[in-house]
Every structure is written in C-alpha cells, then in structure tokens.
Amino acid sequence: MVVTSDELRSRLIDGPSRGCSVDTDDRLAADAASGVARAVIDATLDSIARFGLSKTTVDDIVRASGVSRATIYRTFPGGRDGVVTAALLAEVDRFVDGLRAEMDVAAGLEATVTAALGHALEFLATHAALRAVLEIEPGIVVPLFAFHRLDRVLDLGVELLGPHLAAYLPAEDAASLAEHLVRVCLTYATAPSLYVDPTDRVSVRRLVRHHILDPHLSANPSL
C-alpha cells in the first residue's frame, strides 16, 4: 500500500497542508501548477478506472492528460507510485470535504446521519476507479478492511463523524453510532441490496429512519 494508515488518518482529520501565497505571481503560478496537478490526477483516476491499478502506467497517464512525462515527474516526485499516491490522497480530500460540507448544513440527527451516509454510499458506488479495482484486483483493497483490520477504519470513522453526532447524543452513543455507520457504509458498498439505492437520498433516508436510528428515535423523539 502506497500510503500508511497514519498518513491517511492525518489527512482525514487535519486536511492537506496548504501553503500561504500572497504575491500575485506566486498565486498565478500556484494556480497553473494546481491546474496541471488536477489534470494529471484526473488522468490517473481515469486510467485506473479503465485498466485497474496494477496495469496503469505513466504512459497511460501522459496520454490521457496531455502532460509530459517530465512535468509529471516534477509535479509528483516518486514516479508512478508518487502519482498514484497523490491521486489517492486527492480523492480522500474530496471525500472528506464533501462529507464535512454535507454534515455542516444538516440539522437534526436524522438529517446529519442521512447526509453522511448518503454522501459516503454515493461516493463509493459511483467511483469508477474504485469499482474497477474492486472488480479487477479485489486483493488490493479488501485486505485493508477484512476482519481484525477493520479496527483502523472504524477508528477513523469515529474521529470523522463523532463530533457531528455528539451534538445530538452522549459521547459514547455518538462513537457507537459512528462505528455502526462505517460498517453500514462498507457493507452496502461491497454487497449491494435491493432495498438500498446508494445514489438515491430518499432510499438512504429510509434506511436511516427505519433501521439505523429507530432505536435512538424511539428513546428520544426530540432528536
């Protein structure tokens, strides 16, 4: 695995470190650089979606992005692994930013849980590169979550979701619910169900209201 779980954890919780650029030239240069970076990352994800992770080469990325090899290696040190790591981290950022944005505007426990779960399920269900890797090379991804290794992922989920849920529940219950939501997300992402459409918020809200939160809401209807 190209990224350690500590790096991932720090990314999820603290976000990427962003430099401060005041000078206009620097800002323009930074914009141009980030445009190139974005093109390379998009091309990498596109290649993985088509060929899988193992078979994606820098040549594929050059072809799909129109960016030269030299520029790619300069922008992402570490060769192919460096580019792939950058793409992975960029997707993690996108996931977390979207999750936080949704939870920030949700009011009430049901809306917050529906927003979080809806975002996560849709992200995972529609992510072309991820679906390709799961289908072509499940051995790369599944061991990260299997059996006792799930603990790390659960801890990350509790850190991400816990604070938002704690607005409505005692801390211990918030942590327990956060763990449960990570499990719901992973299980429905890998084992589709006739009853849950991950791209339909109405379907997700049904799952949340009638199966996940029912015990909580029965105990405290004001949530």
Partner: protein, 186 residues
C-alpha cells in the same frame, strides 16, 4: 458428496495447515490422500483452484450447519438472532485455520471468499426471513420482514468475527447489539 472428493478436500485442508495456501498443489494433495492425480482431476476438473474453492465451500457449509443447529431450538425470533450472532462470532474466532490464513495469506484466500460471499449472504438472509417470520412488529414498523432480514444479514456479517468495540461473547452486549444495530427495523 463423494468419498473421494471428501478425502481430497481433507488432504487439501491438511496441506494448508502444514504449508499454507500457496503450498497446495495437486501433487501434494494426491500424495497425502493416496489418490492418483488422474482421479483427482476427474473429480476436480478445475485442478488446484477448484480444490481450494470447494474446500472453502465445505467449511462455509459446516459454518451454516452449526448456525442452523444453534438456532434450531430457540423459539423467540429476537433471541434466535442473538444466538445466531454469538454462534457465528464464536465459530469465526475459533477457526484457527481461517484466522491464520487471514493473518498470513489474506490475498491468496480472497478469491475463494469472494466466490462464497454471495452464497453465505443469501443463505443467511433466507434463514433470517424464516426466523423472523413470526416476530412481533413494533406498532409503527414500516419495513417488510424481507427488508428487515436483508439489513440484519448485512450487519451481522459486518459485526461477527471483526474487531470494533463489541464483545460478542457477552450475552448482554449481544442482546443490545441485536436490538439497536441489527433488528432496528423490526
């Protein structure tokens, strides 16, 4: 299931115990079982991969049989689900071979697990539908028994044998888990 097939799978199982999954070859299995390669290929045309797949499948069948046995005498549906959770968790934790393989050779085991996952899911969901058929519903219940069984099956397979904060050998904890996290839709 034929006696020859059973002996082949027994030998394969013992090979894995001694040498791990990657050490399993038709030659080694033939030698251990005292069966010719030709006979083995007749019963397992897919060769080594088929032997591994069907040996895993046999373990999955045994897992199920044990689950059904554990819940057979329990008439209350919610209690039956609790017994099912404890049995599944206990079996997974006690299965020394499974634990070793997950620790040392997860990537080699995955293809077989992936083949059998749908079978296990469908079997578990079907069993839960039967168990929950007569369950008392809460007055404002909306989901059908099928839907409740589907969710319960997904969540049971997530919780059993994995880590997290729950001790599934503690009956009180399991009762709470079943009420709050598995049968919330009931």
């Amino acid at each position: 299931m034929s006696e020859v097939a059973d002996r082949v799978m027994d030998a394969a199982y013992d090979e894995v115990a001694d040498r791990g999954l990657v050490g399993v070859t038709v030659e080694a299995v033939a030698a251990r079982a005292g069966i010719s390669r030709a006979t083995i290929y007749r019963h397992f045309p897919g060769g080594r991969d088929e032997i591994v797949d069907r040996t895993v499948g046999r373990e999955a069948e045994r897992f199920f049989a044990e689950l059904l046995g554990a819940t057979a005498g329990v008439s209350d549906p919610v209690a039956a689900v609790a017994v099912l959770v404890r049995s599944a968790d206990a079996q997974l934790r006690a299965h020394a071979m499974l634990q070793r393989l997950l620790r040392d050779e997860a990537e080699a085991l995955l293809p077989s697990l992936a083949t059998f996952r749908p079978m296990v899911e469908n079997g578990l969901t079907a069993h839960l539908r039967r168990v929950l058929a007569g369950a008392t519903r809460s007055p404002d219940a909306v989901a059908s028994i099928d839907e409740v069984a589907d969710y319960a099956s997904h969540m049971i397979l997530s919780y059993v044998g994995t880590g997290g904060s729950w001790n599934l050998q503690d009956p009180e904890a399991v009762a709470r888990l079943v009420d709050d996290r598995i049968l919330g839709g009931l």
